[in-house]
Symmetry: C2
Subunit: 347 residues, 2 copies
Amino acid sequence: MADIAKRFVNNPILRPADIQPSLPELKIQCLLNPGVFCFEGKIWLLLRVAERPPQKPGKVSFPVLENGQTKILEFDANDPDLNTSDPREYKYKGVGYLSTLSHLRLVCSDDGVTFRDPGLPPLVGANDHESFGIEDCRVATLADGRYVLTYTAVSANGYGPGMRVTRDWRTFEHYGMVISPSNKDCAVFEEQVGGDYICLHRPSGVIVGGHYIWLARSPDLRHWGENVCIARSRPGMWDSARIGAGAAPIKTERGWLVIYHGANEQHRYCLGAMLLDLKNPAHVLARGTEPIMEPIAPYETTGFFGNVVFTNGHLVDGDTVTLYYGASDEVICGARMSIKEILKTLC
Amino acid sequence: MADIAKRFVNNPILRPADIQPSLPELKIQCLLNPGVFCFEGKIWLLLRVAERPPQKPGKVSFPVLENGQTKILEFDANDPDLNTSDPREYKYKGVGYLSTLSHLRLVCSDDGVTFRDPGLPPLVGANDHESFGIEDCRVATLADGRYVLTYTAVSANGYGPGMRVTRDWRTFEHYGMVISPSNKDCAVFEEQVGGDYICLHRPSGVIVGGHYIWLARSPDLRHWGENVCIARSRPGMWDSARIGAGAAPIKTERGWLVIYHGANEQHRYCLGAMLLDLKNPAHVLARGTEPIMEPIAPYETTGFFGNVVFTNGHLVDGDTVTLYYGASDEVICGARMSIKEILKTLC
């Protein structure tokens, strides 16, 4: 077992019951995968809040957005056209839906451990390409004061990276879906490299390819190109089925440190690390053979979708990276790691 | 039956036997889906040439590129790890391959009907993201003399739109994979709209979404964003399973005319039409309920992959559009249509 994470003693730090649902008829099913940033002297999490109505016996229901309003779709649980074998994604007559509708909620903290909901407006799906919700938001903090939010926008059209940019967390510029679907796990670097903005993203492979990490470049954050695959899943290993980047890579003397998630065929999600060349981040210098964090705590092994640790937000302070992560797709936790120790695992 | 195409009387105009293989040990399995353009007073087709070795009894073999060299992979036909149920795509131990390796070949003509191979260098896969070949190249002719080539680049990393730009058909600027995989059928408009370059593309839907037509915008052709879905496949109709754009949309007084392919669940590929707003091409003004061309000629119903008409190249002369198209994924044909007649089918 390879796990160098020092978990917060009071994990989970946030559970569904700690947050108010967005509507009285909805229940928060999962709190997960926060983006993280500092603003006005506080530490903020941008939580993914996944909601659905309380489930009635013999029925299956889930919400979608229609013209900005939440609408509940309800089906008979025994309807032969309904497939609910994956608790996260349903199919009805061959058409895909999500079992929950996600939006993003801001909570803040003075110490990075105890968070409170200041009651700010939630960030919700804002167009036809976000009607099944917005998920797993990375927040890249640029030196010029801009925060770049990249999240998974989901709708009947597909899922792909949406982007919003803010300076004040009150007004947001909407850049739309910046990378073509089917794609998620988009993490923007916090500084330009060779004059370009850089991001990692995770297209879905169909027939050829897989769920691999790709890199793209942009002159303006809105338009992306020069897509190259930089890392694949590894057959027989802990990250054999899929991989995807966490938050913005961390600049170190040895290279850009990427903390990423990997899952195997049993959908067990761990965290791993790789190192990218400082000047050409499409070049992978090193990648660890073992995970740096595995789902081992009870709240990581059991829940809405057990055996998952998944991060897309962290804070760096000297040698310490504090990871905020979703556990079992249900609760939010924290853990600290030494960057030096992570680098030691990279051959 | 809805078919307004006037097929060339001497269809197919090009068959695999008309072209020399790129290597003596390879056989041309299919000629298909040419890009079309005018250059130095001649009409040119940029053919997709799909090759593989002659198949030995009891064996299955196909070529891939490795460091620019063609390498033959060979398997026992009875290998239980091998799946060849689709003649176009194989799986070995769950990993996807293509049954043929495609490159692009230039042929030219004075009359647009009889084409000859002038022996120009072929365009071949040029990097790690093109090692399974390059396919179905659209050629957009810009007013400034540039030809913009968009093709499907395929490799073990996935498939996505590659781009090369040329003025003289001798030297090419390589822009790499301009849109994230899994994606194909990328058609660039031949003029900018509202200051942006525009393209149509066809991401592959996974779980949510489908094989739909999307639109993206670019400041420089290299980087693309503002992705929006403009048209979906239509359950119960001839284009129920997948759709994708043909060549560059045709500017008409009523709007941008898009000729597109659509297939149903039985993989029967027809051509259809839709009309996009001149100023905001993300807005679909009209879409025909019936196809404008169906696979009905013998060379369209029978072949390597029968019941297919597929176009990604045309020439416009007044009211006449001359479509060059692949039939049954094996031979190349031509047909003429009246643009007015196409527009009449659009309600």
